[in-house]
């Protein structure tokens, strides 16, 4: 029987630990980002009065004398930031209205005076779509290749596939993404080499889907190889265990035994991997988005670095960190939930 109470306590403990970790990481990131050299003026074409009003309202600057602004000490900035998260202060905008300040700061370069949350959500669709397509492609194909390799273990099919899988795991994604782009995109012209503009076409229009094929392929190859290798390793281990012999002895055919007993058991460590993949759908790959000019979250992150848009940078970085930590947590917990033999929160000796 499963120890429900113990499991719940374990999950709760892990959650609290994660929240603690996130808070500490956030404080470190906040400090590091605020320590970066920042120019005092908002740049050409932007209203300095609004800039300083906002900076005072979000607690970064204070007014020394009318028109003279200086940065607050770092810890005060942090305190003001946390205060703003719960009770946003107000500032007077250019048309003279009192407006609530954005909780997560403002973008100054990428999308003037937009909140980083809005920018992030507006960029999320392409990333998520590409990741979901690639997930639907890579999970079944990866599992199937892995099963095939395990069944043909040490035969030529297995060796050939092993080499291919090893190649895709070792070769950096930007290399094979470039190969895909060059051959399928430019040389043979089957698909659009870069992603189409989403504002001109619908997300599910032919042009859009055609232009998304290459990034999806490039994303999939790595994870197909990963899934295949993992499945093969797990399945070969299960196929040689004693209960498989028992299953055959009691009269099951090889196919029946493989599907009903071996595959199900080998899924135990693979399932958490799939869960991890599902969660990382939100973050995507910076490199592949860069190659295929996908206007997604990875692109936003690079933009924020190149344009020195620190509030956006901080927000996207925290988003990535959050996804990473939640992914790790879910994978860890699911191990215990899927396989009752793994004792949740067991001591070091277990």
């Amino acid at each position: 029987m499963r120890d429900t109470k113990g499991t719940l306590i374990y999950i709760l403990k892990r959650l609290l630990l994660m929240i603690f970790t996130i808070i500490v990481i956030f404080i470190i990131c906040f400090m590091l980002v605020r320590l970066l050299p920042d120019s005092d003026n908002p740049g050409p074409g932007k209203d300095p009065t609004t800039f300083y009003r906002i900076q005072v309202a979000i607690g970064r600057y204070y007014e020394v004398s009318p028109g003279q602004y200086e940065q607050l000490p770092l810890l005060t900035q942090l305190w003001n930031f946390i205060k703003n998260l719960f009770v946003p202060s107000t500032y007077m905008n250019s048309s003279g209205q009192l407006v609530e300040v954005s909780r997560w700061g403002y973008s100054w370069e990428i999308d003037y005076l937009q909140s980083p949350i809005d920018i992030l959500f507006s960029r999320m669709t392409p990333t998520v779509l590409i990741n979901i397509y690639s997930m639907f492609l890579s999970i079944p194909i990866g599992l199937l290749i892995g099963i095939y390799m395990a069944l043909k273990k040490n035969k030529w099919q297995d060796h050939t596939l092993s080499i291919i899988v090893m190649l895709f795991i070792s070769v950096p994604s930007f290399v094979y993404a470039f190969l895909i782009q060059y051959f399928l995109g430019y040389q043979w012209g089957w698909f659009s080499p870069t992603m189409a503009d989403s504002s001109m076409y619908g997300w599910f229009s032919g042009t859009m889907i055609n232009s998304m094929v290459l990034p999806v392929l490039a994303m999939s190859f790595g994870s197909i190889a990963g899934f295949a290798r993992y499945t093969r390793a797990e399945l070969t281990e299960v196929l040689t265990s004693d209960f498989m012999l028992l299953a055959r002895t009691k009269g099951l055919t090889r196919a029946q035994a493989t599907v009903r007993h071996a595959f199900r058991n080998s899924l135990v460590p693979i399932f958490p991997m799939i869960l991890g993949q599902i969660i990382s759908v939100l973050s995507g790959s910076i490199v592949i988005e860069n190659i295929f000019v996908v206007n997604g979250i990875g692109g936003l992150f690079l933009d924020s670095i190149n344009k020195r848009d620190y509030d956006v940078f901080q927000f996207v970085a925290m988003f990535y960190i959050l996804i990473g930590l939640v992914g790790g947590l879910v994978v860890d917990i699911s191990y215990g939930l899927v396989d009752p033999r793994i004792r949740m929160g067991g001591g070091k000796g277990q």
Binding site: L36, P172, F178, V287, Y320, G324
Partner: protein, 548 residues
């Protein structure tokens, strides 16, 4: 019956019928016929059996040798910088032995328009731009028909160029040129396009063109002549079918046609002195303006022929040399950072694993936090922070700043993996009886850690750290590919930056700029992974007989 009798006899008179074997000899343990092998020898034997790993090892060795020796013997590498050659940008890969085969000889096939073809067809340089005309196609677009000439272009035929040199340099060049064979003369006659243009403008006006049109054509043609030193012949302006001029499109004036009415000769407009001799130089501000065949001038100037085995990038830099430098940097960085991370991880993991308890819990939390912040974020912050620090810039220079930023970003959480492995190993070994025995004899913690536990874990740890090298190379190249590590201000060459450079060079037309660095980086990654896996399997006795 006789058998039975024999048996009876034998049981009764045992002592007489049986002899003790080796009765007179004293029996000792015989020496082993096989040689004893040590743990390392056993590992080596198992490693050698894995052919792929051995091959990978030799590939790494080859790349390392290439990285060490190529820049030493390459004259294109001077004062720690890669020379940039004007006019030889994006030259295709060329090996001298493949000259004229069409494969790896710096030529490419391309379809070009009629006008461009005619303009570059005639040259007084020593090398023809168009090696061969493959075919001519008619392409219909709407109502107009355009001719497409499919030609094989020699990317090394850069034509003639104008250079400015001092008097002594000019004299040396003339001296050198005297011994050159006729078809490799460097100095070409000056082109007198100014007087030709004046004459041509007058001709246009005479033909009824308005002065505005004539001036426009004059200016455009002047622009063409002054930027293209290879046009030594008279040009005329192309006309539309209605007789109006296309003021940006020119073609040569032919003096001779063959049977198919294709122009085969042009009228030169060389500068001549009063007696009609060709003029080879003009002097302005004490400098000699000379028109040279740039390919042969290159050979004269640098002392070697312009042949680039892997081509050049868009800045005219040799890709082969840059690749060697990139491998050098990658290998140094990979190994250096691995060693640092390994040492930090070892100490951290040892403390965490050996002492356990609360200390372990605290250390684990710290590792959690550290590994929660991705390298890419630390790299960005370090980059901006260090680059803006003027004192630091003055102290270590722009190159030092980048290396420092990379070091900080990669060391900051790179050791977490080693620490985790070490911690596991310590948990495994610290409860063993021999440790207990040593402790009972009064051994201190330091002795237990370094003398008893660590040596047992060493094999696993060292081999697992080999796999850290490719991961460092991978992250570095990814980050420099994305431009997060920016090498433009330093002379460091990184493979990742080369790949991104190749993407900017327009991969549709110049795939070689990206192809070769991509191949090398893939080779490095594959071989390090294979080698590391082979090493791990060889050192791990429990994995004997299984391949995973």
């Amino acid at each position: 019956m006789s058998e039975l009798e024999n048996k009876v006899v034998s049981t009764n008179e045992q002592t007489d019928l049986f002899d003790f074997a080796n009765k007179d000899k004293s029996i000792h343990d015989t020496k082993f016929e096989t040689k004893p092998i040590s743990y390392l020898q056993d590992c080596l034997r198992r490693f050698v059996k894995n052919k792929a790993s051995v091959a990978a090892f030799f590939i790494i060795l080859l790349i390392a040798l290439f990285a060490i020796f190529e820049p030493i013997f390459d004259s294109k590498y001077q004062n720690n910088t890669v020379l940039q050659y004007n006019y030889f940008d994006r030259a295709l890969p060329k090996l001298s032995i493949f000259e004229g085969t069409g494969f790896w000889d710096g030529t490419k096939k391309e379809g070009i328009g009629e006008n461009e073809y005619n303009l570059n067809r005639f040259t007084d340089s020593n090398y023809d731009k168009y090696v061969r005309l493959e075919s001519v196609e008619e392409v219909r677009t709407g109502f107009t028909t355009q001719m497409t000439y499919n030609v094989v272009i020699d990317t090394y035929a850069v034509g003639t160029r104008l250079i400015q040199i001092s008097e002594s340099e000019y004299n040396a060049l003339v001296e050198y040129d005297k011994n050159q064979p006729e078809d490799h003369k460097i100095i070409k006659p000056q082109v007198d396009y100014n007087s030709y243009l004046n004459q041509y403008r007058q001709q246009l006006l005479d033909n009824g063109a308005s002065s505005q049109v004539a001036t426009q054509i004059y200016n455009n043609m002047l622009q063409t002549y002054s930027t293209n030193a290879q046009y030594y012949f008279a040009l005329e302006c192309n006309q539309r079918s209605d007789g109006s001029y296309i003021d940006t499109s020119f073609s040569p004036i032919y003096t001779e046609y063959d049977a198919d009415k294709v122009g085969i000769d042009v009228q030169d407009i060389y500068l001549r002195d009063e007696s009609g001799n060709l003029v080879y130089y003009t002097v302005s501000n004490g400098r000699y303006n000379v028109r040279v065949d740039y390919h042969d001038y290159f050979t004269y100037y640098y002392g070697y022929e312009p042949v680039f085995a892997f081509g050049t990038n868009q800045f005219g830099q040799d890709i082969c040399l840059r690749m060697a430098l990139g491998c050098r940097f990658s290998l140094l960085l990979g190994i250096g950072i691995t060693v640092i991370n390994f040492l930090i991880g070892l100490v951290w993991g040892a403390i965490s694993g050996y002492y356990g308890g609360t200390l372990d819990l605290v250390l684990e939390r710290i590792t959690d936090i550290i590994s929660g912040i991705p390298t890419i974020i630390i790299m960005t912050i370090c980059n901006i922070q260090f680059n803006n620090n003027i004192e630091l810039n003055n102290a270590v220079g722009p190159m030092g700043v980048i290396v420092l930023a990379i070091l900080v970003a990669f060391v900051y959480n790179g050791w977490v993996g080693t620490a985790a492995t070490t911690r596991m190993q310590f948990y495994r070994f610290k409860g063993q009886e021999y440790v207990l025995a040593s402790r009972t004899l009064g051994a201190r913690d330091g002795r237990l850690i370094f003398k008893h536990i660590l040596p047992n874990a060493a094999g696993t740890l060292v081999t697992s750290s080999v796999l850290m090298v490719p991961s460092v190379i991978f992250s570095e190249s990814s980050l420099s590919y994305l431009g997060i590590i920016d090498f433009t201000s330093s002379s460091i060459v990184s493979l990742g930056a080369m790949v991104s450079e190749g993407q900017q060079a327009n991969i549709a037309f110049y795939p070689h700029v990206i192809l070769f660095p991509a191949i090398v980086i893939s080779l490095l990654m594959i071989s390090f992974n294979l080698f590391g896996n082979g090493l791990r399997d060889a050192f791990n006795t429990t994995l004997r007989g299984s391949e995973e």
